[in-house]
Chain length 440, copies 2
């Protein structure tokens, strides 16, 4: 394949060199944030407020948000806002004091998870949770090797950036990291479970030969950065078994699929009938309040804590517990998991029609409200088309619909609206996508 795998954001994001900068606010941003500044769209949008699935720009126009999976129960959900406001006024300290609100939250969270995973470590970000999970696995196994998918993203610390090929602008993984293709039909044919399991097995052997036997197989159960691979359910089971046969632990990175997004189940790994050794979570956990967690077996945590202390100043205090509890309440009281299933199925059906009609739209996959739309060259279904993805993202922006791309070439539209999406709003997106395809 002629295209080199590259960071997704480069394709559709603002680029000062090619897009120019004539806006005073943009100029301030570039001066303040320098090379680390990343902005969506060739013409970035100034946002001022948001509610539900809608975001409002400075010019007063409304954008339908089909991208942001952090404000998962809806932007600025009044129940979450009110929980944060009330708790911030009452107490916001660290977890070295007892607090029954915190314990109630941890118990409520644990009730959504397999009973054997009974210890929670609260963190502030998914990166912190994955960094800690990696350390626990390395300590518990006495090993150093890591198996990840080839466009995985697990966070931004030194340790987890090394296992996040999606972040590399150049270079190759370190020798303790081995990448395998994501579980796509393109990579493994029709028996994804067997092919993916064999890839894990071979990766384990390679790592052993390099002197880094595998400590951990880590994957996002919906492969958000690899391109969104959802089906058939249970295809992860073989890979997890292969990893364990090779002496490795299995970390389920639920930062993106977790908290009811996939519809069928509350957690992404449940769709695959597997029980992880460690589960990490983050993004939608506090609907935007910075919080994350790791859940594991008491024995694994105890091994880690023999050598090193772990404390996280901001994490898991009463403010985080209030935000997190409100999110769980809203998911339940508004039936958002069921809504994700229902509206997700509607979206999938309507997008299926586009696949039939437009040869550049080669496949649509999804579980609940996490979908991927694969784009190919018009004359070659096997040839990814990231340029079209970038065009569509910017064309949809001009139609006031927010969306992004994923996949190893950036060829897949990543569909992740807030879970309160209605079928009417889903239709708005499909219509805008059809219109955009018609003019690109």
């Amino acid at each position: 394949m002629a295209l080199k795998s590259r960071p997704i954001l480069d394709m559709n994001a603002f680029n000062a060199a090619s897009d120019g900068c004539c806006d005073p606010l943009l100029d301030r941003r570039l001066k303040n944030c320098g090379a680390a500044s990343v902005l969506y769209y060739r013409r970035p949008i100034e946002m001022v407020r948001a509610q539900g699935v809608w975001m409002e720009a400075a010019d007063g126009s409304q954008y339908l948000d089909f991208y942001n999976n952090v404000s998962s129960v809806g932007h600025c959900h009044p129940q979450v806002v009110s929980a944060i406001s009330a708790q911030a006024a009452q107490l916001n300290t660290n977890t070295r004091y007892l607090d029954r609100r915190v314990e109630s939250y941890l118990e409520r969270l644990k009730a959504t998870l397999p009973t054997e995973l009974s210890n929670v470590v609260m963190c502030c970000t998914g990166s912190e949770a994955n960094d800690l999970a990696l350390r626990i696995a390395i300590k518990a196994t006495g090993r150093s090797g890591v198996i990840v998918t080839e466009t995985a993203y697990h966070g931004n610390t030194l340790a987890v950036m090394e296992i996040s090929p999606a972040s590399y602008k150049q270079g190759e993984p370190s020798e303790h990291v081995h990448t395998i293709p994501a579980p796509s039909r393109v990579a493994y044919g029709n028996d994804i479970e067997v092919g993916f399991a064999q890839a894990v097995e071979r990766a384990a052997q390679t790592l052993k030969r390099r002197g880094h036997p595998p400590a951990v197989f880590i994957c996002d159960s919906i492969f958000s950065s690899d391109g969104v691979f959802t089906n058939p359910t249970k295809f992860l089971a073989g890979a997890v078994a292969a990893a364990r046969n090779a002496g490795s632990l299995y970390i389920a990175d639920e930062v993106q699929p977790g908290f009811a997004r996939t519809g069928d189940t509350f957690w992404g790994f449940e769709r695959h009938g597997v029980i992880p050794d460690i589960v990490t979570m983050g993004k939608p956990m506090g609907n935007g309040f910075p919080m994350a967690a790791l859940v594991t077996h008491p024995e694994l945590l105890a091994i880690f804590c023999r050598d090193v202390g772990y404390f996280n100043t901001f994490a898991g205090n009463a403010l985080a517990a209030a935000a997190g509890m409100a999110v769980l309440d809203v998911i339940e009281s508004e039936g958002l998991q069921q809504n994700a299933t229902r509206v997700g199925a509607h979206l999938l059906a309507r997008l299926g029609k586009i696949v039939t009609d437009d040869p550049r739209v080669v496949e649509v996959r999804g579980a609940g409200l996490f979908l991927g739309i694969d784009l190919c060259q018009p004359d070659d279904p096997g040839s990814p088309n990231p340029a079209l993805a970038a065009e569509l993202i910017n064309a949809l922006r001009d139609r006031h619909v927010l969306i992004g791309a994923t996949g190893c070439y950036g060829q897949t539209l990543k569909v992740r609206p807030p879970l309160c999406l209605t079928t009417t709003e889903a239709d708005l997106f499909v219509d805008a996508l059809s219109d955009s395809l018609a003019v690109t």
Copy 2:
């Protein structure tokens, strides 16, 4: 010295094995958090609310907070609470959209710093900021060695835990890390600047010999975990020059001393007349809202960003900007830096009297409202007394005053009240300390 350096928290914290567990809430906590549970005091306190420098326990009693440097402008400060509440209801998304509130905050923050440090990268925790700072320094120098003080704490990710000897329960630093004694009179005699600079120079040579020439000298400018070393001002200048002579960068970890706590200056490094290559900050930045940052030269950040993308989902959005701006506003409008100087000087003077009166209190040091009180054996001023520190911390808890310990043996009381402390409240602490000393 007979005592082995060990984690400070072990000495005065709750220990389920020795302290027992007969409280249902404590039992829930241990079941939920397992081995990673760390609680202050032999008899942990259940907190329910807090305001200013006072925290209220579940039994209705009020505790004077002389420990928590996160709620630095006062617990649940109404202006910060109101800024968080208003912004949470309006917009809480990520920084890939433009937002003028964010840029205004970054500019306000930058105005407190040397002008050459003009790029800000927002993070969620001090750990993330230090992890990123370390990576930037490693990339910019093409080197791997790190010089830290021997009881430093720089965070909890894999990379920064390695440079945080305070977290080790056993084991020694990796070969790319070299530790030097903190800048105390005990370690370096009366010319701390020269002694500390020589220690950095020797550390650089050692690291070079090991094949890890120094990329970075990182220190907390008030040495919070090493025992609080504040004077003479400017003593850091020699060490920074020695590090740079050896080809290393200098990271100022301002997570603890920053944001006006040290009274004389807004940032701890300013007291020493040095300009860091990278400044990291966190804890008090949002008065408890999870936020942190790294500030550096555009050139250093650009080198890093050539190879790797950096994006932090929750960091630096409008909600963080609102919290951070409110904190800067309150520090200014309430004159908290001046208050830290004034009340800190009062505290230092009153504590000086205790040094004179009690042979077990060997020295008091401080800058603004960050003080250290060194405890020694009654018959030997050179012999640290962590057991007395642990007794005093628990005795003060029983007198409803919250305090902790620091230092390589845990022999130093660490005094860090909110910056809105009054002299009357300062006197309450000194009286409670005198009373506690009288009975221990």
